[in-house]
């Protein structure tokens, strides 16, 4: 398979002016400025194959958005190489730009707010040179999937955040980009809207085989949508691989949820650390390498009607990663 994104040793260094508080420092900074170099991204390399949905995660200020901006051609890296769809993004060739979309949850629509949604879609059609037949076809699909029928004639400024996000997606997808950068697409949305967004992204990627790079702080987004994650922290690549494996390597225990039909409950603490018990159900914390042995014992010694082995909640694992790094 051909890789859609190929990143080699990508590095971005900013210079930021520094100033102390107060009048004196303000006056001093008129003549003498001090700068600090900020290494936003350092030596990141990875590749993404066609049709993949990759979660790009890391704490605030890790360099996620900077990387997305370099991949979409907005920023010119200090060092390193990027090929996206075979092009060098920051040359911003129209042929490349027509095939990508950058959608930001913090600002889904950038055009003037007084226009109606349909006006804006038509304008996109003009800019991205979409033929009338293609436009109608994509529009019908998007209206259906994003439930836009009621919104098309409304002014953008009067839309709620959730509606705005749906329209932002429609504006970006009307020209059928092959490569999507989604920067926190579920930011600030309510539960229903988040669900809808996730379903939509999943369906879209399945049906169009578009390659999607997604950042989000909601682990559930990443968990449902991305098989693979790329984790960066302080500008450096920390992990690249399957999400479950990260969770597995990071936490040394698993959660064993057991329900039994015996009248008398056994002494659970003989099997593992009891997290919670209720009637004839129990959740046990068991060392990863002992899960098999404990399970066998349980099945032999009790009448098990339900048994589930779970990883600890992802949010907790990520919290640990962000605070302590990957050991």
């Amino acid at each position: 398979m051909v890789s859609v994104i190929d990143v080699q040793d990508l590095t971005m260094v900013y210079k930021a002016p520094l100033r102390e508080a107060g009048l004196r420092a303000a006056l001093v900074s008129v003549v003498h400025r001090t700068y600090r170099e900020i290494h936003a991204v350092e030596n990141i390399s990875f590749t993404v194959d066609s049709g993949e949905v990759v979660g790009f995660i890391g704490p605030n200020g890790a360099g996620k958005t900077t990387t997305l901006k370099m991949l979409s051609g907005i920023l010119h890296p200090t060092r390193g190489e990027v090929r996206a769809l075979g092009a060098i993004p920051w040359r911003r060739e129209p042929a490349f730009l027509r095939q990508i979309a950058l959608i930001r949850g913090s600002q889904p629509i950038s055009g003037p707010g007084e226009l109606t949604v349909l006006d804006s879609l038509r304008f996109q059609q003009l800019i991205y040179e979409v033929s009338d037949t293609d436009f109608k076809k994509s529009l019908a699909v998007l209206v259906e999937m994003l439930d836009l029928e009621q919104l098309l004639r409304r002014q953008i400024r009067a839309l709620s955040l959730g509606e705005r996000m749906r329209c932002g997606l429609a504006l970006a997808l009307i020209y059928q980009p092959r490569l999507l950068f989604l920067d926190e697409p579920t930011l600030g949305l309510d539960v229903t809207a988040i669900q809808m967004m996730r379903r939509f992204i999943a369906t879209y990627s399945r049906e169009t085989h578009a390659t999607i790079l997604l950042t989000s702080h909601y682990m559930a987004d990443v968990e449902t949508l991305c098989k693979r994650i790329v984790l960066i922290d302080k500008g450096r690549l920390q992990y690249d691989g399957r999400l479950e494996e990260l969770a597995a390597t990071l936490s040394s225990y698993k959660l064993l949820k057991v329900a039994i039909s015996d009248e008398l409950c056994p002494d659970w603490s003989g099997y593992g650390e009891v997290v919670e018990t209720e009637d004839r159900k129990v959740a046990l914390r068991v060392q990863r390498d002992q899960v098999a042995a404990v399970t066998t014992r349980l099945l032999a010694e009790c009448t098990v009607i339900d048994l589930a082995i779970e990883n600890p909640p992802l949010e907790r694992v990520m919290d640990q990663v962000y605070r302590e790094g990957i050991a």
């Binding site: 051609g73 907005i74 920023l75 911003r92 600002q107 950038s110 007084e114 304008f123 800019i127 040179e129």
Partner: protein, 256 residues
């Protein structure tokens, strides 16, 4: 071609948008009328004290004032709505979204938006030019009208170019928001540059050539200027476009 279609589409979209605010329209017209009346009264007061102002008679000064009004109107319609408070636009990510569009970012950012209602300033401008002619008692020749039109275009190109260069500057130094300064200097175009004292006059002709906004076109129209001026103007305009393209590309590289 595509650019012209985008321009037309954005004009029609903006018109639809603006027509939703009727009170705005009324107020804008009122302000335009008050402004032009003010300039008219000033000219009237000046010419009761003197017959010529820096070599310009009353009728000539009126043609100049009208020309300035026309240029200002077109500028306010097509150029001004775009690059204002550019550093702020960069902070909000407007620049970013323009950069990922498959159309020249310079075009989209400097001409992509417009305010069709500001075009209403052009009409009183034409009126004032006509009054000026009437006052002069001469009919301009076809050549002088052509020269006037060429220099009007050059003036607009220069105004646009200066605006883009300021935007480029704010990519280098984000704290430099020179919008206010620009519109302040713009006001110097309202009167013949001949009335300003030396360092300022030199600036207005050679450095920030706002003399092209009104003084030079009106000079051609009333037969005061060198008939070769339109040719110099074309060269200056072409140079301005070339410089802007270079500067924009260099600045973007710096931003990105």
């Amino acid at each position: 071609m595509k650019l012209i279609r985008i321009l037309a589409a954005s004009f029609s979209l903006s018109l639809r948008r603006e027509l939703t605010f009727r009170a705005n329209l009324l107020f804008q017209l009122l302000l335009t009328i008050l402004n032009i009346t003010a300039s008219f009264l000033v000219l009237g007061a000046v010419y009761t004290q003197t017959r010529t102002l820096g070599g310009w008679s009353l009728g000539e000064s009126m043609s100049l004032l009208g020309t300035f009004q026309i240029v200002s109107g077109i500028y306010a319609t097509f150029v001004e709505p775009n690059l204002s408070w550019f550093a702020g636009q960069v902070r909000d990510g407007k620049l970013d979204s323009a950069l990922v569009q498959p159309v020249s970012s310079l075009f989209m950012l400097s001409l992509g938006k417009c305010e069709p209602l500001a075009l209403s300033q052009v009409l009183p401008g034409l009126l004032v030019v006509a009054i000026g002619w009437h006052n002069l008692g001469t009919i301009p020749t076809g050549w002088s009208i052509l020269g006037w039109l060429i220099l009007l275009a050059v003036g607009l190109i220069i105004a646009w170019a200066a605006r883009v260069l300021l935007a480029c500057l704010s990519l280098w130094v984000p704290s430099m928001d020179l919008d206010v300064l620009y519109s302040a200097l713009w006001q110097f175009g309202r009167y013949p540059v001949d009335i300003y004292r030396q360092p300022l006059r030199f600036c207005l002709i050679y450095i920030l050539p706002f003399a092209f906004l009104a003084t030079f076109p009106a000079g051609i129209l009333t037969g005061k200027s060198n008939p070769l001026l339109p040719l110099i103007g074309i060269a200056t305009g072409a140079l301005a476009i070339a410089i802007v393209h270079q500067a924009w590309n260099i600045s973007l590289r710096r931003y990105t």
